[in-house]
């Protein structure tokens, strides 16, 4: 595939440092702001990428002595076979960034960070609390060279409290916040959540940085923002904590179900799409599921009407919402007997046209190919230099006057080291050579 869904393609230089990233056509909310990005894995990098998509200049601090493991492997999938510049995981959460290679254990690298901090508006990290301080690069150190710097430090459980030194990843944030306990089918164990949890934590960290910038714009003051990834997930399930205090017990796992509505579930279909939609090039799923929710008698009757389940309308077990809910286990196979002979996408269309909330349960290429996704501009093509053209999702928000632009794929490891040192910081070649000699640029 050589064209992208919306005609945009982004490519960076093939050799040496690539200089400034291609400028966006219009300034973003954070244009002109420089942020030191110490983050790694998924959560921190995604948060920092949000800031880059808003126009900030992100300088990601990396080292071959401590490679961001999303360049090498994923928690769920295991090791990635390609090289450190080819990992799809890394590309997805590091678009629009510069990469400088620095071994922070060396004195020279520390001075580079201090010089960067003097020119930066923000810094973001997701280290275990205390790691940067131990390196002499904590908030107090950066503040000493730049009192106005806004620093967001996002850790597993926060920088204070008895568990501040504990480490974690997405699945543990979900476990420690209460979300895992609430996720899963009612009669089954709680589920282990994955990468989406990291991106939620990253979104929260990015929001904290924006709040810090907003405060700085009004007061001229920098600050240290101590963000907890487990709290970030807790913040997303606020009503469950009120449930505890006001009802005196914890909430339940509901799976795809609902406390009051039925049908409210996913049902197996014959296929994702009708047979004529498939061709040899089709990349989407063959099997399909459809989600259907009825919140009222009206929606239920509309469902019966267009599903050929006309006979259920008069069935006393299903006449009212409460009865349908009580008999939902009997109802499910009856609906599935119908859906299992239908294609998911087209059936969902029919149901929606009749006013019934319904959707095919999609993933991967079926998302990219969907008409609604395409009609909003679709994906953006990026071509990381050592791999193939990739279609990536645009950011989860559209700003009419300061639109995000994906101007670059994720950087190669250390791709911008020379550029950052010589052009951003004005180091001469002798100084750069001395840093290399010291091992600071590894």
């Amino acid at each position: 595939m050589t064209t992208t869904s919306n005609g945009q393609t982004t490519q960076n230089g093939q050799n040496g440092h690539r200089g400034l990233l291609p400028p966006a056509t219009r300034p973003g909310p954070l244009s002109g702001k420089r942020i030191i990005d110490f983050t790694w894995a998924w959560a921190g990098p995604y948060g920092a990428m949000q800031l880059a998509l808003l126009g900030a200049e992100l300088i990601k601090i990396e080292s071959a002595t401590r490679i961001d493991h999303s360049r090498q492997r994923s928690l769920a999938m295991g090791s990635f076979k390609g090289g450190v510049n080819q990992a799809p995981m890394f590309n997805e959460v590091n678009l629009n960034k510069h990469s400088i290679q620095l071994n922070l254990k060396t004195e020279g690298a520390k001075q580079v960070i201090r010089d960067l901090a003097a020119t930066a508006d923000g810094a973001i990290d997701n280290f275990r609390p205390g790691i940067l301080e131990k390196l002499g690069l904590g908030y107090e150190d950066l503040r000493a060279v730049n009192p106005e710097i806004v620093m967001v430090s996002a850790s597993a459980l926060g920088a204070t409290g008895p568990e501040r030194n504990y480490t974690g990843y997405a699945p543990t944030f979900a476990a420690l916040s209460g979300l895992s306990y609430l996720s899963g089918e009612p009669e089954e164990p709680p589920v282990m959540m994955g990468g989406s949890i990291d991106l939620r934590a990253g979104t929260t960290a990015a929001m904290a940085m924006l709040a810090g910038f907003h405060y700085h714009a009004r007061t001229g003051r920098g600050q240290f923002i101590d963000a907890s990834s487990s709290e970030a997930i807790g913040m997303h399930i606020a009503e469950e904590f009120l449930h505890v205090d006001l009802l005196g017990r914890d909430g339940d796992r509901l799976g795809n179900g609902h406390r009051a509505y039925a049908p409210h579930d996913v049902f197996r279909c014959a296929s994702m799409r009708a047979p004529e939609a498939y061709s040899d090039e089709h990349k989407g799923a063959r099997s399909g599921w459809i989600a259907i929710a009825c919140r009222s008698d009206q929606e239920w009757q509309a469902l019966c009407e267009c599903s050929g389940l006309e006979h259920l309308r008069s069935d006393p077990r299903f006449r009212t919402g409460l009865r349908r809910w009580k008999h939902r286990e009997e109802l499910k196979p009856m609906i599935e007997a119908w859906t299992s002979e239908q294609p998911a996408v087209e059936t969902a269309e029919t149901l929606r046209a009749a006013g019934v909330p319904a959707a095919a349960s999609v993933w991967g290429s079926d998302i990219h190919h969907s008409e609604n996704f395409q009609s909003r501009g679709g994906a953006v093509g990026v071509r990381p230099p050592e791999t193939h053209l990739r279609q990536v999702l645009p950011p989860p928000w559209k700003l009419s006057e300061t639109p995000a632009e994906i101007v670059s794929p994720a950087p190669r490891l250390g791709e911008d080291t020379d550029f950052v040192l010589s052009r951003m910081l004005g180091y001469d070649q002798d100084k750069i050579d001395a840093l290399a000699q010291e091992g600071a640029l590894e």
């Binding site: 476990a175 420690l176 282990m192 505890v244 319904a358 300061t402």
Partner: protein, 391 residues
């Protein structure tokens, strides 16, 4: 800030800005935000002031009831929006047009206004008016498929995550973009339209795996492992479940140390064997070890040895944890009808402190008269209430 939004996504976004100090006027229809009717309630019977979903996402706001079926009600709303810095809404393009609040028109009439919209499928696009619910949105976005896939199984029904986390994604995306628009306004002087499709917000949370599925033909074949991860997973302890994740070699070594350095983990040279080479036998041994201990014992043993882990806590256990208490993650709010309860704050401490000067969710229409008085002429609030314009 003026909010015309119901249920979770829009109110959550507005709440984050309101808790941060934005004066927020929430416009409700006479029967109230639909969240007021969402179970469960603090009391055995439904009460419009005590739904947990209502209480959780509407702190620091004032409530104004307007009958938007009436021309006068719509006029008052337009006046309020015209004076606002931010208009948060979850209404679809058609509904906004009916209120004479089309984003493009508002943009023209009020150049400094930020129109912050979170709708299921966006303000533009072929699906803008599709009927949907949280269930169908979670599935239409790929978010539910993502939960299932993370379990290590590519078959089986796609599954929503718990609580209302998918809906909350639309809220955080909107809050983030609205903060950005406020910063842009201070710098450039103009407002803008913020268009968040909540399904795209959910989709972005799984952007890494969706990309791999689309661009690389799905994840590479991997060894079957228990619990859904090549590097750990869900373990059953004597009192519940725990998640351990050890992708880095020093973390794997920490897990082995926590278990008391069993022989099977080492090769003949005394070096640790790579986890992936050990396969299911190692998984069985780890499970057996975990099952003989409590969650807390395994949690502390692993974390002491730098192995990332977390017990699967019930929400009540989260609230009781010393960590959350020391960090003051919850603040206690009194409410005139519901009892006092602990509310989670924004997930950050600012220069070492929480910012927690917030008020509980407002009673329905409690600020109707105060807020609308200047816009009711020739009526006074009592007359407007009798006429059904305000409530």
């Amino acid at each position: 800030m003026v909010e015309l939004a119901e249920e979770i996504a829009g109110p959550f976004a507005a709440r984050m800005l309101a808790d941060a100090g934005a004066e927020t006027i929430k416009i409700e229809p006479p029967r109230g935000d639909a969240a007021r009717r969402m179970a469960p309630f603090a009391e055995p019977s439904p009460h419009r002031e005590t739904s947990t979903s209502w209480l959780a996402y509407n702190t620091s706001k004032r409530s104004v009831v307007l009958d938007l079926e009436s021309a006068s009600g719509r006029r008052v709303l337009r006046e309020l929006v015209g004076l606002a810095d931010v208009f948060v809404t979850d209404r679809t393009p058609r509904q906004l047009a009916e209120l004479d609040l089309s984003p493009d028109d508002l943009r023209e009439r009020h150049p400094r206004l930020i129109i912050a919209a979170v709708t299921p499928f966006g303000l533009v696009g072929s699906a803008a008016e599709w009927p949907s619910t949280p269930l169908t949105r979670a599935h239409a976005s790929g978010s539910a498929a993502g939960v299932r896939r993370n379990l290590g199984a590519n078959t089986g029904a796609p599954l929503m995550a718990g609580a209302k986390v998918h809906e909350a994604d639309g809220g955080t995306a909107l809050a983030l973009a609205t903060w950005s628009a406020l910063i842009a306004r201070e710098r450039f002087g103009h407002g803008q339209i913020v268009d968040v499709a909540s399904t795209e917000a959910m989709m972005n949370m799984d952007r890494v795996d969706i990309s791999i599925a689309h661009n690389d033909g799905g994840p590479p074949a991997r060894p079957p492992t228990k619990g859904g991860s090549a590097f750990g997973g869900r373990l059953e302890c004597s009192d519940g479940h725990l998640i351990a994740v050890t992708p880095q070699s020093h973390q794997w070594a920490g897990l082995i140390t926590a278990m008391g350095d069993p022989d099977w983990a080492y090769d003949s040279n005394g070096d640790l064997i790579d986890r992936l080479e050990l396969g299911e036998d190692a998984a069985d041994a780890i499970e057996q070890w975990a099952s003989a201990h409590t969650r807390d014992e395994v949690f502390r043993a692993l974390q002491t040895n730098s192995a990332p882990a977390g017990p699967v806590l019930r929400p009540s256990e989260v609230m009781d944890s010393e960590q959350m208490q020391v960090r003051e993650f919850f603040d206690l709010l009194e409410h005139p009808v519901a009892e006092s309860a602990r509310y989670p704050q924004f997930a950050a401490r600012w220069n070492g402190a929480r910012r927690s000067a917030r008020t509980p969710a407002p009673m329905l229409g409690s600020s109707s008269a105060d807020v609308t008085r200047p816009f009711l002429a020739p009526w006074n609030p009592a007359q407007a209430r009798r006429a059904g314009v305000i409530g």
